[in-house]
């Protein structure tokens, strides 16, 4: 509006050009966020999504478990297989082996991530009304991951072998998926790790892209 006052003739043309540029930008920006989100998903495979640190007097350095999207491991020190160690300790309270947990999810994790990446790329490249639906898996992935984790933690904590050596001392419990807990002489800290933050950042980007798409659509309908 102000440009009009300064330069009534050229101004209008310039304004039109600018508006056209903005529209183009708004049109392709969501696609850009989807592509970046797809890249983040790919990167997240190499990073742990979730971690658990256990502290007890006889483990001065603590025990650490790191959960990647498709496997579990200890910390970087290869000398002690810490998941195995935690598993060994868990048998005293009658907890099932961690290696049996989420076996199906872990087995399909990589194909699913690749599928989500593919869907995101289709959504980015194919500008149709319905393609936003393809972003929903990646958008909800961080929360689905945590929900599945919570399911397994509860499943494991609540289903202790009643004949385990320490069954009289440790009652069934629900381990927290985030924050501090206590199991026997162990104090635990559970936290989401780098990989989860990466997919969460991807989800935020997708949400922004969808919002831009929505705004653009509303403007088009109004204009």
């Amino acid at each position: 509006m102000t440009t009009k006052a300064i330069s009534p003739t050229d101004g209008k043309a310039a304004g039109n050009t600018k508006q056209a540029g903005l529209r183009r930008w708004l049109k392709w920006l969501p696609s850009l966020t989807f592509v970046v989100a797809a890249a983040l998903l790919l990167i997240s495979i190499s990073q742990p999504y979730w971690g658990l640190v256990l502290q007890a007097p006889q483990y001065p350095g603590g025990l650490q478990m790191r959960v990647f999207v498709n496997y579990m491991t200890g910390d970087e020190d290869p000398r002690l297989d810490e998941v195995r160690e935690i598993d060994g300790l868990n048998h005293y309270i009658g907890m099932k082996s961690l290696y049996e947990a989420a076996k199906f999810e872990r087995s399909i994790a990589i194909p699913v991530v690749i599928l989500m990446i593919g869907l995101l790329l289709i959504a980015a490249g194919l500008q149709r009304r319905w393609t936003w639906v393809l972003t929903i898996p990646a958008l909800t992935f961080p929360f689905v991951f945590l929900a599945d984790l919570a399911f397994w933690m509860t499943n494991y904590g609540q289903n202790l072998d009643p004949y385990a050596p320490l069954s009289s001392a440790i009652q069934p419990f629900t381990p927290p998926i985030l924050g501090e807990g206590v199991i026997g002489q162990f104090s635990t800290v559970a936290y989401v790790d780098t990989g989860w933050y990466i997919i969460f950042a991807g989800a935020v980007l997708i949400a922004i892209g969808l919002a831009i798409k929505l705004i653009g659509k509303l403007r088009t309908e109004r204009g």
């Binding site: 483990y59 000398r79 002690l80 160690e85 060994g88 050596p165």
Partner: protein, 663 residues
């Protein structure tokens, strides 16, 4: 000076706090009735215990709080116990007993595991299940300890063992069949090409018999050069050789280094070739071997000896390569230099330029110059001993003699240009200055101070004190007698290892700590900087065989346990993990020959399991990752409760099973 006073004060305060804590625990009932506030007052506690300021300084220099690591590790032989001790300095805490020549049940050594190593040390099928460990030698690179291997000799049976410092366990025992005792070993050449084992008492070679009347003609001395192969971690028997020496009772040896690299020096103490016989009216050995005015320092050219051996100059004696004495003489491999009578020690200075020989029965140390030795050899000498070995005139090779006191035995070195010599009869350690360039030319060759020790000091060990660059800081006197130092535990008394502060120049030294050793006589020791050691925390992989230092293909993994039978041969495959063995029921038949493999599948540090079978004399220590296979014949039927002998977990008592052998 100011900073010295300041640091002394800091140390003093630290020590007093320590003593206060100890006293709080020990005398708190008494203190609480007399002076309520005194229970935590370190000054009151120190006064109550009668501790002097010097005592508190010593405590501050040695007290090492829980979880704090020592600066040095001392490897001390455990004498007739046939073992080696690892001791932390300055705390003087005993860190590890290493079984070498003697079975030991804590480590399960010789009770189902380690038997293949012990059997290597049997001589002509004769079981020998002990040793008299004397001189531990750490492997060296460029004349510095490298922390990889430790070697130790058995004086009684003339054997040498190899210990791998990745797991502190014995891997090999070798024996030179041409000879049957040693003393001047082990010492390594500056890059551990050879492990030197000097002999001691003269013997007929190859285990033969000869009458003592024929001593001069039929008895010999010997020095063995064991070739070490770092890649295999083993002594290479075929590349090892020995050299025949005159029967002079060679004693302590040392390798040349720096300028003297390629040469070996040994003192001797029976140039008289006395043969004893007190019961027949002859002078006893103690008098006979000391009758003559001189003995001989042996000077051996190991590089030339190696060339002679490689060119076929050795003969086969009892299956071993031995360079005969006449060949050694003909090839200029051996020279002698007179020493004061019945000396002890031939210790090479850090730069390799001097050899120090302790007088033992003479109050001096005699210092020989390697340069003078070379010059004299080059000039040629006409003098020989009775066997034709060239003798270098004393006046042409001697650099200095320093009068130290009574009974000078063994000399070690520090980083300030001082040497330290044990004075057995004086029960003291002499600090003296090496008056040569590179040491303390400003002081000359002179005695600086004497530190009384308790009592009858034999060898000394200084921090990295026999390397090319000693550290100084600490000296340990290995005292043979403790007499009144400790509470009486009956007529057999411990040895007393005393830690001495040698960090300050001049005449200040201080005894910091007394460590009683009850295992046996720690004869000799070496002290290595702790950061040079890099021992494994657990075995690298599950199924590890420490004998081969690789994964045993026969190891048992979880899920593969079981019992199989082939005729009378039964194979038991078992895993151990907190807190159970799998399987827990092992049923076999009387008369079976049992081969039993147990793998500890643990990966946690310190999660060691034991395994014992009553009656069958089996007890193992299975460290995390380790796999052990043992065999026995099921000669007796019955029910045998096997169990874990290393307290492993809250359910350790439940970690057992039954071996069932029906009649």
């Amino acid at each position: 000076m100011i900073s010295h006073k300041f640091s002394s004060r800091v140390l003093f305060i630290g020590a007093v706090i320590l003593v206060a804590i100890v006293l709080t625990v020990v005398v708190s009932p008494r203190v609480s009735t007399t002076a309520q506030s005194g229970a935590t007052d370190w000054q009151a506690i120190a006064a109550e215990r009668g501790l002097t300021e010097a005592d508190l300084r010593a405590a501050a220099m040695t007290y090492t709080p829980s979880g704090v690591m020592d600066e040095y590790v001392m490897f001390a032989s455990a004498g007739q116990g046939g073992q080696v001790l690892a001791i932390g300095l300055p705390s003087m805490r005993l860190l590890r007993l290493i079984s070498v020549f003697t079975p030991e049940s804590w480590q399960g050594y010789g009770y189902g595991a380690g038997n293949e190593v012990l059997e290597q040390g049997f001589i002509d099928g004769q079981e020998i299940l002990w040793g008299d460990t004397h001189h531990p030698a750490l492997s060296e690179t460029n004349g510095e300890y490298d922390g990889q291997w430790l070697f130790i000799g058995d004086k009684a049976n003339g054997r040498v063992a190899v210990i791998d410092l990745r797991d502190f366990e014995t891997k090999q025992i070798v024996h030179n069949p041409a000879f049957l005792n040693d003393h001047g070993g082990t010492f390594v050449t500056p890059n551990t090409e050879y492990i030197v084992e000097g002999g001691q008492y003269g013997l007929p070679l190859g285990g033969d018999y000869a009458p003592l009347a024929d001593y001069q003609n039929s008895y010999s001395g010997m020095i063995t050069f064991w070739k070490f192969d770092r890649d295999t971690g083993r002594i290479d028997y075929s590349q090892s050789f020995a050299m025949e020496l005159p029967p002079y009772w060679q004693d302590l040896c040392d390798s040349g280094k720096g300028v003297s690299e390629g040469w070996i020096f040994c003192n001797s103490f029976n140039a008289e070739m006395a043969t004893g016989g007190i019961e027949s009216g002859n002078p006893p050995f103690e008098a006979g071997v000391s009758r003559g005015a001189v003995d001989y320092l042996h000077i051996i050219n190991i590089n030339a000896a190696e060339a002679v051996f490689q060119n076929g100059g050795a003969v086969d004696i009892a299956g071993f390569n031995v360079i005969p004495l006449e060949t050694a003489i003909a090839n200029n491999l051996l020279y002698l230099a007179p020493e004061p009578r019945s000396p002890h020690g031939a210790d090479v200075t850090p730069r390799g330029d001097f050899i120090v020989v302790g007088g033992k029965l003479d109050p001096h140390v005699s210092v020989y110059s390697f340069q003078r030795i070379q010059d004299t050899i080059a000039a040629g000498t006409t003098e020989t001993d009775a066997f034709g070995v060239p003798v270098l005139p004393l006046e042409s090779v001697l650099e200095a003699q320093v009068e130290l006191g009574l009974g000078p035995l063994h000399t070690v070195f520090d980083n300030q240009g001082y040497a330290y010599t044990s004075l057995f009869l004086d029960s003291a350690v002499a600090r003296w200055s090496i008056g040569a360039e590179g040491y303390r030319p400003q002081d000359g060759w002179t005695l600086i101070s004497k530190t009384p020790v308790q009592y009858n000091v034999g060898h000394l060990a200084a921090a990295e004190g026999d390397t090319a660059s000693p550290d100084g800081n600490y000296l340990v006197a290995l005292n043979k007698w403790s007499v009144d130092r400790f509470l009486s535990t009956g007529p057999l008394l411990p040895q007393n290892l005393q830690l001495i502060d040698i960090s300050q120049p001049g005449d200040f030294t201080q005894i910091l700590y007394d460590l009683p050793i009850t295992g046996a006589e720690p004869h000799y020791a070496q002290i290595i900087a702790a950061d040079k050691l890099n021992a494994w925390e657990v075995y690298p992989e599950v199924g590890w065989d420490p004998f081969t230092q690789s994964v045993d293909p026969n190891a048992v993994l979880q899920g593969t346990e079981g019992i199989t039978r082939d005729g009378n041969n039964v194979n038991v495959r078992m895993t151990a993990v907190r807190s159970h063995f799998t399987p827990e029921h092992v049923e076999i038949q009387a008369g079976d020959h049992v081969t039993w493999t147990i793998t500890n599948v643990e990966r946690a540090r310190d999660a060691t399991h034991g395994f014992s079978i009553p009656f069958y004399n089996i007890n193992l220590s299975i460290e995390p990752g380790e796999s052990i296979t043992f065999e026995f014949d099921a000669t007796r039927s019955g029910v045998f409760s096997f169990y874990c002998t290393e307290f492993c977990s809250a359910l350790h008592l439940e970690m057992m099973g039954y071996l069932l052998i029906p009649e």
